[in-house]
């Protein structure tokens, strides 16, 4: 484990046994010694990553740091070489992706992944149809459309939406699953300033009003500063630093590895 973990939140240092028995109900997600190797390359190296309920965490790091790999290990899209993932006190390492979703984990991918051939309404129906039927389904679909800010475009095909609107729709779809934790992989990549503000508003609104915890991977430091409670810096597959935006921005080592700045060290 990297030295940076010495300054970590005490909850992060809980043992897997404590988490499995649900001793600390504040920690919603915990990875324990998570490692992923692709042949000779270790993309994620013995990472202990914890997120508390209702927290808005940003995960940053230079390209190739292992951010997306870590998210894929959490969602089950990839299987770890070693280590375990705990969610709400239960080990989910062996579960299929759709089973993890049903435990309250949700993800929005880096590339906008709405169903372009389906209408906006059909897109929001897909996650909701498993959870509700009849009138309740209609109500939840209406809520999801409103939460996406796309109620007036419900009956057009998702392919006709702008890039920013597709991002909004995807966040709305992920949120309609009523998750406890929502993982967002670069939600504002390629968006205009206005669209970034719109996405930031949606994320903070969902976080505050529905107490959804977030892990957001993002390169845009202004966006990160706007939304994050807490930041984790990943470097070469390891947890490099954790702290507030001020602490991370002031850290010369982070400047060196992530921002490319000069340091006195």
């Amino acid at each position: 484990m990297s030295d940076a973990t010495e300054g970590m939140d005490p909850a992060v240092k809980q043992t897997s046994a404590e988490l499995a028995t649900g001793v600390d109900t504040d920690t919603i997600l915990q990875t324990d010694g998570l490692t992923k190797r692709f042949g000779g390359l270790t993309a994620i190296d013995d990472v202990d990553f914890g997120v508390e309920a209702g927290e808005l965490r940003c995960l940053i790091g230079p390209n190739g740091a292992g951010k997306s790999t870590l998210l894929n290990l959490i969602t089950g899209a990839l299987s770890p070489s070693e280590g375990a993932v705990y969610f709400k006190g239960h080990e989910i390492t062996g579960l299929d992706p759709h089973e993890r979703i049903r435990h309250g984990l949700s993800i929005k991918f880096q590339v906008p992944s709405v169903y372009e051939d389906l209408t906006v309404r059909e897109n929001v129906r897909l996650p909701i149809q498993r959870l509700a039927s009849g009138t309740e389904r209609d109500e939840r679909m209406a809520d999801a459309l409103a939460a996406s800010g796309l109620a007036d475009k419900a009956d057009i095909e998702a392919s006709a939406l702008s890039h920013g609107e597709q991002q909004q729709l995807e966040i709305g779809m992920a949120a309609s699953l009523d998750p406890d934790l929502l993982l967002l992989d670069e939600p504002v990549a390629g968006l205009s300033v206005d669209e970034r503000e719109e996405i930031a508003d949606r994320i903070t609104q969902l976080n505050e009003e529905r107490s959804i915890a977030f892990v957001v991977i993002e390169h845009d430091t202004d966006f990160v500063a706007d939304i994050a409670d807490h930041i984790t810096v990943l470097h070469q597959g390891e947890t490099f630093r954790e702290g507030s935006i001020e602490e991370i921005e002031a850290d010369p080592e982070v400047q060196r590895i992530y921002l490319g700045g000069e340091t006195d060290a």
Binding site: D96, P97, H98, I101, I107, Y115, R125, P127, M173, L177
Partner: protein
Amino acid sequence: MAVGLDLLVQFFPNFASIVLAATGLAIIFGIMGIINLAHGEFIMVGAFSTSLAYNGGIPFLPIDALPGLGRLIGAMLFAALVTALFGLLVERTIISGAIPNWIAERTVGHPVITPLYDRLLDSMVATWGLSLIMVQTFRNVFGNSLSGVPIPFGKLSYGNSSIGLYQVLLAGVAALVLVGLYLLFVRTDYGMRARATIQNESMAQSLGVNTERTYMATFALGSGLAGLTGALYAPLLSIEPGLGAAFLVDAFVAVVVGGSSVVVGTLLSGGLLGIVDTLFSNVYGTFAGRIALLIVAIVLIRFIPEGLSSLVERLRERRLEVD
């Protein structure tokens, strides 16, 4: 006038034969990315099951107590169900490898089979092998042929000609199958899951869709439709182990010409290929009809490689842009 009526009446059985042969294959190809070269043998399972059920009865289901037509319909539905269950077994063993992998994980400690989803060439080799095994197994178990099934409804006379009413009615069944599939894919929860899984499997999983179960249901549905086709054609065929080969050619050509959309593609290709087959068979004979059908398919694939349904899609997109 008489020639026109003659062509129209002969078009119905040709349309029915192409559409019914193709739907099961189209569903499995369109949703799972698998070309099932054992599709003809799944049709054979349907025909054999119909013959066995009609002539020998079904344990615990006294269909032989029903009047003639009821007994036939009961046998046909039973055959479709048997083929769907057989398809489910094939999906779990050969296509997904779930059962062999379950055993392997408990013996050698790791899975041994990678699922055939979206592996076109691999799926063709695997299912071709399955078709060879099925034909020879059926020949060994049941012999070279089984007792036939009577053709219901008698003849339909028009002008100086006549045709089996049952063959004409099959076109109605084919249309009903297409309407049913349209409603299934557009109106039901399963249809939403299937359409989502086709477009982006990992996205569907991230929205809580059990894509493995969707694949299982899809393969069983496609197999059941193949079984229904075999059942519907059991009265018209000699029930022997090689009967699936002719269906596979029609089905394969129709799916390639139709494109990725199961309902629209199959409807268009069934209609067009049915017209070509009818015209050329009527004027130059059955052999010329088959040659013409294949030539039209080759020309269409050359100029519209994504199939007829892609034309409809392009027209729709253009209309949306204009709006």
